[in-house]
Subunit: 148 residues, 2 copies
DNA sequence: ATTATTATGATAATAATATTCATTTTCAAT
DNA sequence: ATTGAAAATGAATATTATTATCATAATAAT
């Protein structure tokens, strides 16, 4: 199961925090690491339950919170009051554009923006671990944002 | 009351949506436009109630949702499960850097980033109404992000 | 093996957000 | 000015995501 580099990062993180490694945690984390979208807790839970019927919601919840703290997952909230966790791809980060009318989500990458962010942060004495960039607007189909 | 440019933008927005202008809406919007921080609904409600005792929570809630849709307010969620609305200053937008250890928040502006965002959006056929950019990392004092 | 510490999972508590509905207000057309 | 359809209000209720509780089980170091 644990051929992921992320898995060992998690193990190391747990150790520094004095937390324990458990079968549930490992399984939930592994399941999450295999996703490639922003997944909600509910979705992740059902994915987990397919293989492991008796893992509870609370454990999924707590594990994802942990992953968020460790930097291995990013908690995001788009418009709908649902926290979604994003599994950041090894090859880098992507940002989002959300249509305010139809809720369509498009993704993009821009290395230049990333770079400018780091620079801006450095000026303020910060080191950036991760970031969220969300653009809100109207997609081609909904352009103008006219009356519904 | 309505010497704000924002007020007329709101009026125009309501018109295109076939919505009506009401005393409550105007008052809530005006009160909001006079704030200069990210304000929660609860805070805004109490501000509103000071002058206008019988405006209800639901109306504030609905009005802010409307302002969000119009681009006149930006809904933000930082760590605490509270949606806060940000009144964007006439002189432009500011973004946030949040320290993952001490929760300190610093703000910055970067025109170049804004520009790159619009370009990236345009490529995908989107028109940007507003955006959120949050950097997460460690401030000077917490640098390294060691064990808590 | 023992034991102290932490994790789990079912459930309950909390809190924010969204909806309902009867009443009132707006606004365009008379 | 009056009317009437459409929309807004506000109080209350419903919904839902998140967090906490607690008895039991698992972990890991000695």
């Amino acid at each position: 199961m644990a051929q992921h580099g992320k898995m060992s990062i998690l193990k190391a993180y747990l150790e520094t925090k004095g937390l324990k490694s458990t079968a549930q945690r490992d399984f939930i984390a592994d399941t999450f690491f295999k996703t490639n979208t922003h997944i909600s807790l509910e979705e992740l839970l059902s994915k987990v339950k397919r293989k492991n019927k008796n893992i509870g919601y609370a454990t999924v919840y707590r594990t994802m919170k942990l992953l968020g703290e460790s930097g291995l997952a990013i908690a995001r909230q788009f418009g709908d009051g649902q926290t979604r966790y994003e599994n950041l791809p090894e090859d880098g980060h992507h940002d989002h554009i959300i249509c305010m009318k139809c809720s369509k989500i498009a993704e993009f990458q821009n290395q230049k923006i990333e770079q400018l962010q780091s620079e801006a942060a450095k000026k303020l004495g910060f080191t950036v671990v991760n970031h969220k960039l969300e653009l809100y607007g109207y997609c081609a189909g909904c352009a103008g944002g006219d009356k519904a």
